[in-house]
């Protein structure tokens, strides 16, 4: 044991770091700072919402009026509006985005996939107010016949019929808002899933192909399992954007306060974010607290949904990790 020690003592200079590792330390410090900034920002938002919104939960009944008497009564229709529009958006956008991503990553030849990917990315560059204008003044009218058709076709069905009740004559419905939201969240879901799909190890894809899998079978055996976590991330980011989107919903939806299952109704509850955008200018301090409190509710629910999705993914991955 003494010999190696003696050797080190003989030539101590050889073991010291020659370049001092300053670059390493700067970089690791910068990376740590960036990571902490995110956490600090998130904590800051949370503390703000809590501090400003805490009193919003229990104001005198008049503040919540004219359509509600308590915070719960105020926020519940908004929550329903938020989630209905977002869920409609996800139902439309997710299969479409996965399909487009697969075409770009695995089906289309190179000369086609690059322009398609570019066009989809361009969709993300369109400001949401433009989508709002387009949805409110163009798409809504065009969708009136579809609303009528949905009501005529499915209106009489059990369960499903409840979703397609008496149709709106203007088309400015939750369904239209959901469709506009779907177009808005399409690029982000497509871009992320495209990226994870194309990262599937070639080795796994070839293993499936060599067993005599068709392209679709290969995708199911290798691409989807490999990409599952990324696909959920993409959907969560899309959902986050849909939940928080204000302009499109504010402009498209004709706001009402009656809760109903009818997604093609003349008027429907708006979303939390759109409600904040509509009302914050009223500048009543009490109402402002209530609006912040609804923001807090949205913040917490988004967190919950995200955690739940992560947990589902994590569970299946833990199961395979011995």
């Amino acid at each position: 044991m003494t010999a190696p020690t003696a050797e080190i003592e003989d030539q101590p200079a050889d073991w010291a770091s020659v370049r001092g590792g300053i670059g390493d330390r700067i970089f690791s410090g910068a990376a740590l700072a960036a990571g902490l900034t995110i956490l600090a920002a998130l904590a800051g938002v949370f503390i703000f919402l809590l501090a400003k919104g805490a009193t919003g939960f229990s104001k005198p009944a008049g503040v919540y009026g004219p359509h509600a008497e308590s915070f719960l009564g105020y926020v519940f229709p908004l929550l329903v509006g938020t989630f209905t529009a977002s869920i409609i958006a996800l139902i439309i956008a997710v299969p479409l985005a996965f399909g487009i991503a697969l075409v770009i990553s695995h089906y289309a030849p190179k000369w086609l996939s690059a322009p398609v990917a570019f066009v989809i990315d361009l969709l993300a560059a369109v400001p949401s107010v433009v989508y709002g204008l387009w949805g409110a003044f163009f798409l809504a009218k065009k969708l009136v016949p579809m609303h009528d058709w949905l009501h005529a076709t499915f209106g009489g069905w059990p369960i499903l019929g409840a979703l397609f009740g008496e149709p709106s004559t203007a088309g400015r419905t939750v369904l239209t808002a959901g469709i506009v939201l779907a177009i808005m969240i399409l690029p982000i879901i497509t871009a992320i899933t495209r990226e994870v799909f194309s990262r599937t190890p070639r080795l796994h894809e070839e293993a499936a192909l060599a067993l005599g899998a068709t392209r679709w079978e290969m995708i199911r055996m290798t691409v989807f399992p490999y990409s599952r976590s990324g696909m959920v991330s993409a959907v969560m980011l899309g959902l986050g954007r849909a939940l928080g989107e204000t302009m499109a919903v504010t402009m498209v939806l004709s706001v009402g306060f009656d809760l109903s299952w009818n997604i093609i109704a003349q008027s429907s509850p708006t979303s939390i974010a759109a409600n904040v955008a509509l009302k914050y200018k009223e500048r009543s301090a009490d109402l402002l607290n209530v609006l912040v409190a609804t923001g807090l509710v949205l913040f917490l629910l988004t967190f919950l949904v995200n955690f739940a999705a992560r947990w589902v993914i994590g569970r299946s991955e833990r199961r395979m990790a011995r």
Binding site: L203, H204, A207, L209, L211, G212, M320, R322
Partner: protein, 259 residues
């Protein structure tokens, strides 16, 4: 069950680049045929053309005839998917499906072909294939554990079990031992000896001792010159190839005086 392969005038391209030129050979049924040659000479490319895996790469294509069991693999109307179900393949690096258990890995190919299997049938196939790959005794108590949890050599034998579970006529092996330690390599070589009774085996190897140990016939591939396409220099029984090759460049390569 095993079938011979007749290759005539095969040219293999990557886009416009001719990678392998003018290959003719007759691969015997129920024998082990090894391809040797320096890196980049096209032996793996040629191997992959035997089950139409070459064309998976965009722009890649094959000209000529490769006949298995009287059927030209590149004939009109031949489905590459059907070809790959008859001609199995084991890759250089072990590639069990990471999200599947050992059990499901073995059955992966079979489920594609046969759809739903009865539990008893599936169990029988898994045991037979894993025994065939000399892996049964090592994994029989943990069939539901992930395939990725095995050692590299075990993973490669799992891949062989997966390939033979669909009972192909031909088994292609692309440097199956190059990522493995000597003990695992020896286990795979023993396995190749046992499998050749049932399957026609074609193996690419960089290890000339391995070619000499496991194969009955050997093909030597080489580049005509730098930048020229690869071609088959010599195809002979392995004994003759290593004792008294026809071509001087074969002798130079085998004896290590190459390049």
């Amino acid at each position: 069950m095993s079938k011979s392969i007749d290759v005539s005038d095969v040219n293999i391209y990557y886009g416009d680049f001719l990678a392998v030129q003018g290959v003719n050979m007759s691969i015997r049924a129920g024998a082990v045929t090894a391809f040797i040659g320096p890196s980049g000479c096209g032996k793996s490319t040629f191997l992959r053309s035997l089950n139409r895996m070459h064309e998976v790469i965009p722009g890649a294509r094959v000209e000529g005839k490769i006949v298995v069991d009287g059927q030209d693999l590149y004939g009109p109307g031949v489905d590459p998917v059907a070809v790959r179900r008859q001609v199995g393949m084991v890759f250089q690096r072990p590639n069990p499906f990471p999200t599947m258990s050992i059990y499901d890995n073995v059955l992966a190919g079979l489920k594609l072909n046969a759809g739903k299997l009865k539990k008893s049938e599936a169990d029988a196939v898994v045991e037979k294939s894993l025994r065939g790959a000399n892996l049964w005794n090592e994994v029989k108590d943990r069939l539901n554990k992930p395939g990725m949890g095995l050692s590299g050599g075990q993973q490669q034998r799992l891949c062989i079990a997966r390939a033979i579970a669909v009972e192909p006529q031909v088994l292609l092996m692309d440097e199956p031992c190059s990522a493995l330690d000597p003990i695992s390599t020896s286990a795979i070589e023993d396995l190749i000896h046992e499998l050749k009774d049932e399957f026609t085996i074609v193996i690419v190897t960089h290890n000339m001792q391995q070619a000499a140990r496991v194969s009955d016939d050997t093909g030597f591939f080489n580049l005509k010159a730098t930048g020229e396409p690869g071609h088959l220099v010599e195809f002979n029984p392995t004994k003759k190839m290593f004792a008294n090759p026809d071509d001087p460049s074969t002798e130079a390569y085998i004896s290590g005086r190459f390049g």
